[in-house]
């Protein structure tokens, strides 16, 4: 997985854990967290594939643009690998 990643700009109609405000935003992998059962399957009582999970750090400037309170404040979120694409 590349160090710089973008959250896929998808609008999924079910239970997902990639927050809308980060979709299409680019960040840096802060650390790899290992693999976890995919909540998009677990939430429906289905057998779950193991998905890698990453902690991704974004600048507030990247997320909110000029509206950010402080450009270089940061936001960390955990994003599953299948929601990330290399930049």
């Amino acid at each position: 997985m590349a160090n710089r990643v973008r959250v896929k700009a998808l609008a999924a109609p079910g239970h997902v854990r990639a927050p809308f405000y980060l979709r299409g935003r680019t960040g840096v992998i802060e650390r790899e967290l290992g693999v976890f059962g995919n909540p998009e399957q677990l939430a429906y009582g289905l057998p779950a594939e193991e998905k890698p999970l990453y902690r991704v750090r974004f600048t507030m400037a990247e997320i909110w643009g000029a509206a950010a309170e402080r450009q270089d404040d940061t936001l960390d979120a955990e994003i599953y690998g299948h929601w990330l694409e290399k930049v």
Binding site: G14, H15, Y21, P39, A43, G45
Partner: protein
């Protein structure tokens, strides 16, 4: 005709909202029981926290605005247990109806409460 950006109601990050009022309360016994039931259901493999969240999300924004936290949790727990087949809708409805005859308050509606 309607259209949407696909954002779901519970996905709140960055949405406009009012001031944070730092309120808290001590949980009532029935709320603690709802919490314990969810944890034990998860531990015993009846359903999991992801299913709980999915049901909470599918209950919609109106439920978030009008029901308390643990009211929503028992509704979502029930939804998952119905789906898993732990009991039937009819079994639950009949039991809830019978409970209503036990007494006017939560304390009085407990089985065995009268000879406790």
């Amino acid at each position: 005709m309607s259209d949407t950006d696909g954002r779901r109601w519970h996905d709140m990050g960055g949405q406009p909202a009012g001031p944070v009022v730092p309120e808290d309360h001590d949980f009532a016994l029935w709320e603690k029981r709802v919490d314990a039931l969810m944890v034990l259901c998860g531990r015993k493999g009846l359903f999991n926290v992801h299913g709980l969240r999915r049901a909470l999300e599918d209950m919609g924004e109106d439920a978030f605005e009008t029901m308390s936290y643990y009211e929503r949790w028992i509704a979502a727990t029930n939804q998952n247990l119905i789906e898993t087949g732990v009991y039937t809708i009819a079994e639950l409805a009949e039991r809830m109806d019978e409970i209503a005859t036990r007494g006017p308050s939560y304390g009085e509606a407990q089985t065995g409460a009268k000879d406790g």
